[in-house]
Symmetry: C2
Subunit: 159 residues, 2 copies
């Protein structure tokens, strides 16, 4: 986490936590059901010292909580917190983008299926409160209550 | 881009492109309307050599296309391709997560508003083909047509 972004920007702040390649892969593993150091290590191929470092960091940031399960050798289990589980949307957005634009249709390594139909889940789509799809032209980025002067100026310059 | 992940995993592949902190911030700037080297530089605070490197990389990966606009000094303009514009869902998922769990309600630096109502756009939500919301229990990650043996084994071990 060498270069922390200091802009007041939700994307920059998210990347300060998630920007490290490994972070989201560990979150992915947790979604797949991994809870133990050895599982995370085996399933991602991450070096042990790096894994140790990342799990500590993710616990500190409130993405994982560590539980002492009292077994010899593998004392701890790691579980996603509510904040961690909420990353599912980010993960799925990444997966759907990559399946479509990096791998391409028919070459998807992993798909998200609707259990009740067995069919792929449709792409995430912005919708208004009535559930109608919103396009890029229907939405606008605006300074929020926590905007810094610089962010406010930046966003006002857009239109 | 020191550590390229080699797993056949759509998330790993996406992070090979987007894993660098700066990459998504440049994409964010492009969504805000930046097209010129100087704008990207000024609005993110990125070092010029790093920016030059990242723009080259993003063009190579098909996220930006570079256009010679023939002006002295600032010859080139950078535009998002279709693949780049499709990252909007990833960006918005990150922004919504960060607004809720990093900044918290009432402290959002930037909000995405529905132009027709002026209200914040609801959180991205997985839905089935009928438009009904899907929870974590309604969906499953499954090996796709492009899965490697390792990915297939990994996913079959889940349940």
């Amino acid at each position: 986490m060498a270069n922390r972004h200091t802009q007041t920007c939700a994307i920059a702040a998210a990347l300060n936590i998630l920007g490290d390649h490994w972070t989201l892969l560990l979150v992915r593993e947790a979604f797949y059901g991994a809870t133990r150091f050895g599982e995370f290590q085996r399933n991602t191929g991450i070096a042990k010292t790096l894994l140790s470092d990342r799990l500590f960091f993710l616990e500190k940031e409130g993405i994982f909580r560590k539980e002492d399960v009292g077994e010899r050798g593998t004392r701890y289990a790691y579980y996603l917190t509510e904040k961690g589980r909420a990353l599912e949307t980010v993960m799925i957005a990444l997966m759907q983008w990559s399946n479509e634009y990096v791998y391409g249709r028919g070459k998807e390594p992993v798909q998200l299926l609707d259990r009740s139909t067995g069919k792929p889940v449709p792409q995430l789509q912005l919708r208004n409160r009535k559930g109608e799809a919103l396009g890029a032209m229907d939405v606008a980025f605006r300074a929020g209550p926590g905007a810094s002067k610089a962010t406010r100026r930046r966003l006002e310059s857009i239109e």
